[in-house]
Symmetry: C2
Amino acid sequence: MQDVYQYIDDHRDEYLEQVRTLCRQPSISAQNIGIQETAEMVKAMLEAIDAKAEIVPIEGGNPVVYGEVGSGNRTLSFYNHYDVQPPEPLELWKSEPFAADVRDGRIWARGIADNKGNTVSRICAIDAYQKVRGALPLRVKFLIEGEEEIGSPRLERFTDEHPDLVQADGNIWESGSKDVDGTPIISLGLKGICYVELRVKSIARDLHSSLGASVPNAAWRLNWALSTLKGPDERIRIPGFYDRVIAPTDHDLEILDKLPNTEASRKQLYNIDQFVNGLSGRDLQLKEYFQPTCTICGINSGYTGPGTKTVMPAEAMAKVDFRLVIDQDPYEIRDLLRKHLDNEGFSDVEVELLSAEHPARTSTDSAIVRVVEEAHREIDGKEPVIIPTSLGTGPAYVMAHKFGIPFASSGVGHADSGAHSPNENIYVEDYVTGIKRIARIMDGFART
Amino acid sequence: MQDVYQYIDDHRDEYLEQVRTLCRQPSISAQNIGIQETAEMVKAMLEAIDAKAEIVPIEGGNPVVYGEVGSGNRTLSFYNHYDVQPPEPLELWKSEPFAADVRDGRIWARGIADNKGNTVSRICAIDAYQKVRGALPLRVKFLIEGEEEIGSPRLERFTDEHPDLVQADGNIWESGSKDVDGTPIISLGLKGICYVELRVKSIARDLHSSLGASVPNAAWRLNWALSTLKGPDERIRIPGFYDRVIAPTDHDLEILDKLPNTEASRKQLYNIDQFVNGLSGRDLQLKEYFQPTCTICGINSGYTGPGTKTVMPAEAMAKVDFRLVIDQDPYEIRDLLRKHLDNEGFSDVEVELLSAEHPARTSTDSAIVRVVEEAHREIDGKEPVIIPTSLGTGPAYVMAHKFGIPFASSGVGHADSGAHSPNENIYVEDYVTGIKRIARIMDGFART
């Protein structure tokens, strides 16, 4: 593969310009900005590597860009998305989020880590492979959606309607990163999510707080409702919540045994003295990889400006996300939450489901995982670490569980890439390495 | 007194214009708007009734307007304030808050109920009495401060430095209203307040909510800390909190026996099905008049905009007010709260005291209360109801407890006056009646 790697090194400036061009095109699904333009740009990039590409519309949503190139006994698919998070808060960015500035060896842009860097690195790997070897050794399918950052609400409809476009022998997932100490990570799963908004309205309008003795306070109602969900022991108190949680297997525990200890570096990164409840070692691993979460993402009620205002709030609102593990179901969790609140006397607390995704896992034994491992060893010169699941969420369930496609992650991010945050970035060197790794993965997977 | 009442009726338009003029002058202490101008305007109004008036500066704060007029064996003081609450939210006002519009028999203006209507009605009563009778039958002292709406932080310093200006045989408090069914209320006290801001900072900056399994969440920390303060049973859980609370006397219970039942009208006003925990009758009376409160006035953390953002908040903030009853001390309550949070494992929750006032009560047996009762009977033609205390707060402690001055309320408000809210208003008829009542109170108190 040295011939392909050499070609990639010789054309690094050209490949760098390609990803910068895509990053300069905003594509913010939450704000409906630049979606069609970006889909067309991605289609053109696929056509430039001789892929048969099309923009597949989805009723009521953003289209999927589908591409197919190469032939062979094996079919590898890439799941990516062309939409990005909103760039706000803009004032915290050190360069314009859609300028794709290069400085200090890094590319800075909204979407560069999540997920345009990975998307373009895959296209560039095919370009290099074809230029050097003439043709790909396998069939490649690109499935690049436009609604990942708003929870992929219509992806399952797309895969149901187009099973032929989805079917593959293995999949490379959108993401891929390194841990806080620089070790490459291969993730075998994604958590699910049940994201809800809780709302209380206790009185007709805000009243003087002197009525606090006798008139129901929306902020207190919400506070008490939330405190029935989880206490400082971190155990989620919704009856039935853990019923479908599967205990880690002996094989899972072996995976955990091999994980490097990054606790000290992570504590420094987050600026904390300790993890919750002093968790460490195996307990921390089990909590992070094999336990669901319940997180308050936001809460608001009453007067929150400077100084005092003696007001009793009529309304209160909280946003809560549950990250789910195999085999929890986000819709069942929503129902259990509703029932729990009713049973605890909080039927006045409204629950609205804002986002739902199933958890997904794949097996370490699959060919795609072995090939990605080999690619890391060869290209990065480092032994990758395999983690049972990402802590984050994505629509892998659709492909992994409904179509039975094994998947693995391989990407260009690092621990401080700042996905979803200001100053999102990747290292130029990681981008070039990422292109080589994809070339190596295609080459290896063709021989499985 | 018919001669004086007739004079007031004949000059009602002139008296109405006086209060509108004062209301058109903004005087927002929280925003430092129009303070000096208003103090000078009030001083001029006092001088117009031949009062010896001065603007008494307070270091670091808004001046007190002091006035003295009349002579006799008895001295009656009026406590008022010339500052008002901010008018926001402006979009909810049906007429400009500083236009003092008159329509539907009411005057609509920020400060008309709290407290400019009362201030001017007292000045007008003296004017009428003097015009008809030549001279007042007693000495009157005006103590009109400019920081009541920000918690009277420097009033005690003023009264300590100028005891001669404060000393009196009886005091008419700033406020005075009618209950929801239109019955005049005489209040024998004011609750104290301990208003705190609670703050938590758990991590360096907001993180991705996927870290919810292991990284401390500021919103949860605050939620749990708050839920240790009070549960749905409404009992405040801070050890020692109730230690100084004095049980109602037999005399207090007799006062409660005489209260009309306004529960149905009040539930309709607040748009609630029931009071907290279904309280009613004697239990509701005891809770409102003889028990302290703990009220969340505001809470904020993380993402509170539309849709989903999967963020783990680094910071959280809540504003909480405790309304205190005799003999609770706001500074002691702040200390008990701090100690309680430490004992419960929440030393990460910062406590800042934003406002502190002591509770105050006066006796039903005092001359001033009897005189106000008589005035209500004569002027309103209704038997007033005596309540043990207002549910709200004011700096009566300074005068009532440090100087031993009995006090009673008499004012021009009604149950839907909207103090501190948009569309603050009083009825023109109540304003005219209020002027007459003050004339009658001066006349009656001179003969005690």
